[in-house]
Symmetry: C2
């Protein structure tokens, strides 16, 4: 074939850089870092917390500065016309028990950037993470991506400080792009919102600003076992990292012992089988219960058969909802609330502000049921309708449950408890492979916590099929983490909750 | 790694069936078929035409049966509430010369199925194509997919006959799925419309109904060189075929001579270099000017930087448009028209009907500028905004031009002629690698013809860069046909015009 070339191949580059997944896997296998030792993280994080005294208080709506309810529509808007608005939405679905409902929804048409800067130290990729305060965060300070910027941020609508490291993500060629994909945000709370999820490798020297630190993917994996430390924006970006399978014996930092995260109550042996099956799913040539084409065909059919119609309606006219001086909520108390807070802090781009937030009704449960099938890990994904998705359904965890939340699920049970919820909640501790509480985005949601779980079911050869069978109910499919990593390279396949669990699976890929 | 398996791998299958692209490529290389010889196609097609006498006439709107202008909105609607409606749209864009415009648009929320049934005869995949009449088609009868069904079709809203072969595409497991993806339709004429594009291989015997025939991909490739024979629905499905590179010497029908389609005026040698570079782009391990990650990152940036807001408005109130007894059109004559026709035919599911159609203002031009770079074919794609896309931009041909059409292109020139149009129109005949006139979907568009072209520029090593340089202007990128085939496995990357050209590239892959 070389005969047809009229010139040496000097202009072309490989379509796929095979070294990137391997380098990310090596970073996942490194549970200690070159720059900040894992044992020193807590002290560093505490210092960042101390360095930024701040105060978040609930306030009535009439103390919001720049925000008001629009005279005609009753929508909650900012006088600049930017940031976001809280409007009403009427959702009609063709499937499921509840045919239609009304709800408030956040509209923020612009695309933000969630970007993590990466750099190799001693042959191991480290990620530049930020200790960042968000008013809705549990613990207020959480570990965030390097850059977390709405377009308003970087076009200076709020006249704040520059966003640090932004040019790595907005100037093509400033670094080497490892991942860059538009991903959806919460479809239950946002209308058609998506953000750019980016990982960019710096090829020059990077000066580390005070609230920033370099961590390996393995170190972040350890922190993902702690409650409310790694924020949602970091988790969704980490989900997009194209991680390969690397055996735990390949430790790129030989002087540092690999620390196994202790699974919640599980015996080491079961956890070892789980992580080996997880790595197997990412090895080249490993099969799956359904081929990629079959999985995509099922997804296409799910997306096609759903008729979801949404209509924006004035917040003022939202049936069943009423507005009090400090809250917009349902008369029956179900669902979430719209509230307002004031914030005083030094570490944000501006030093003090007020803003609305969405406050859910209680702790959510987000869980993948997982199985080893022929030694390869599979997770049970659910094709889920939410009113705010750009296109009818996205793939969600097996269980995605927020008390009182409006759902349209073909398999929803009469009591409003989704399939598999009680099974997950009742799982024996030795079945739980991962468990931690995480917050959703603290810039829009107030104390929106969920318990994230990976729970293993079944025996490997399918003989004892158990309560989570190989033969899936309608709307559900077994897929491998390797298949999810392929899908998350494109937008609107995996929802944000599934991406948090995929980020955990990515980070666990390095565990022994 | 086998030690971790507790059971033989009986449940798993390969994620990717590597034989499918190869089998499709063999079909593309077969320019004659086992069932219907290429030389007999014209006679068969003429017989189908004779078998179905029909008549399409323009009528005034008040002769439409079941259709009327809604009393309040002026929208053109069907009394069943199904099929489609013609409404008004206000489009606002942040980029480009024209900041906003009003236009009529077709709204048809439901997802249709465009499906081609495949089956192997003597080791070669053949595709079951249908001679189907559509009222807007030039020549009326064109070659269509096996199934071309709106949801109204198969739920029998119009009380017509059964859709033949439909269960292969709606019943999982009825055949082997080779491709299944939601793809957008014309964003300038449809609001958020997408169809399922499917190729399914039959594993059982198939009875061939009178209007149907089995053709190889190579035979269809020959027909794609004729004007107005292969309809749009067939072309978009063929674009989704995951074709591999197979050298022309591998002819799966050795008794049949391979017929080279004569390029329009080009010498055989240049055409041979072109097809070899085309095949090279699909070989495993072949590089590209931009890696897949870089290409996706550029696309993500293009999609993110565009602010496109659309608002549905009543057709009655559309500024600049007026309604006459037989047409809705712009007062200045620019853009397209909404008209009505009556149809009498025996070969449709129902025997006579009336319906509205969109009629564009003239012949369009859809062209890829192509270059051989280091012996690998590249095409210049354009990130194009259209008001009806689900998400701001999709990848379009280098030139996509319909006279008077509303466009929002960052690079649009003052005269309203897009970049590269005059270059394409002025190209010397020996630069033209493909040229044919095709119609857009005849069920919605009346005589919507475009000249589709592949025109080669530049020399291979980039020394003489010429008018279509290696360094792309903003909004454009060089991509290989192999990269486009990867992208078209997912929805909303390639627009329908680019998919027609990709279908031609797929079919040409078998040419010697």
């Amino acid at each position: 074939m070389t005969g047809i070339r009229s010139a040496p191949p000097v202009l072309l580059r490989p379509r796929v850089d095979g070294s990137v997944p391997e380098r990310l896997a090596r970073s996942a296998a490194a549970t200690d870092g070159i720059v900040l030792r894992t044992e020193d993280f807590a002290a560093w994080f505490a210092r960042r917390r101390d360095a930024h005294p701040f105060r978040v208080e609930r306030i009535p709506f009439d103390r919001l500065e720049g925000w008001s309810f629009h005279e005609r529509t009753g929508d909650l808007v900012h006088r600049s016309g930017r940031f976001f608005t809280v409007e009403g939405l009427h959702v009609t679905v063709d499937e499921g028990r509840r045919g239609d409902w009304h709800q408030p929804i956040i509209r923020q048409a612009e695309v933000g950037i969630l970007g993590i800067l990466a750099k190799e130290f001693h042959g191991v990729l480290h990620l530049l993470m930020q200790a960042k305060m968000e008013p809705g965060n549990v613990n207020l300070l959480q570990l965030s991506p390097t850059v977390q910027a709405t377009r308003s941020n970087y076009t200076k609508v709020h006249r704040g400080a520059d966003v640090k490291y932004l040019d790595y993500f907005t100037r093509p060629g400033r670094g080497r792009v490892l991942a860059d994909v538009l991903q959806s945000e919460h479809g239950a709370w946002f209308l058609h919102k998506s953000n750019r999820n980016m990982i960019v490798e710096a090829l020059d020297d990077v000066t580390v600003a005070p609230d920033f630190c370099w961590l390996t993917l393995g170190q972040i994996g350890l922190l993902l076992h702690q409650d409310n430390v790694v924020n949602m924006d970091a988790r969704t970006v980490l989900a997009c990292a194209p991680v390969a399978a690397v055996p735990p014996s390949v430790s790129p930092v030989p002087s540092v012992p690999l620390v196994s995260p202790e699974p919640a109550g599980g015996p080491g042996d079961a956890f070892g089988l789980f992580t080996r099956a997880l790595r197997r799913s990412r090895e080249p040539g490993t099969g799956a219960l359904h081929s990629d084409t079959e999985l995509l065909s099922w997804f296409t059919a799910e997306r096609s058969r759903q008729d979801v119609a949404v209509r924006r309606v004035p917040l003022r006219e939202l049936p069943g909802w009423h507005r009090a001086p400090d809250v917009v909520e349902r008369a029956d108390g179900r669902g979430f609330r719209v509230v307002a807070v004031s914030v005083a802090a030094a570490s944000r781009e501006v030093s003090a502000w007020t803003q609305p937030l969405i406050e859910p009704n209680g702790m959510g449960v987000m869980a993948f049921a997982v199985r080893r099938i022929d030694g390869v890990l599979h997770v049970l994904v659910h094709a889920r309708v939410e009113g705010g998705y750009l296109d009818t359904v996205e793939l969600a965890p097996t269980v995605q449950y927020v008390p009182g939340e409006f759902v349209a699920a073909a398999g929803e049970e009469p009591a409003g408890r989704p399939p598999f919820l009680d099974l997950i909640l009742a799982a024996a501790p030795d079945r739980v492979r991962y468990e931690a509480v995480h917050s959703e985005e603290g810039g829009r949601f107030l104390a929106a916590q969920s318990r994230y779980l990976l729970v293993e079911f079944g025996d490997e050869d399918g003989d004892d099929d158990g309560p989570v069978p190989l033969q899936e109910p309608p709307g559900y499919r077994w897929a491998t983490p390797g298949q999810l990593s392929s899908l998350v390279g494109h937008g609107h396949y995996l929802n944000v909750q599934a991406r948090t669990l995929l980020a955990c699976l990515n980070a666990l890929a390095g565990a022994p």
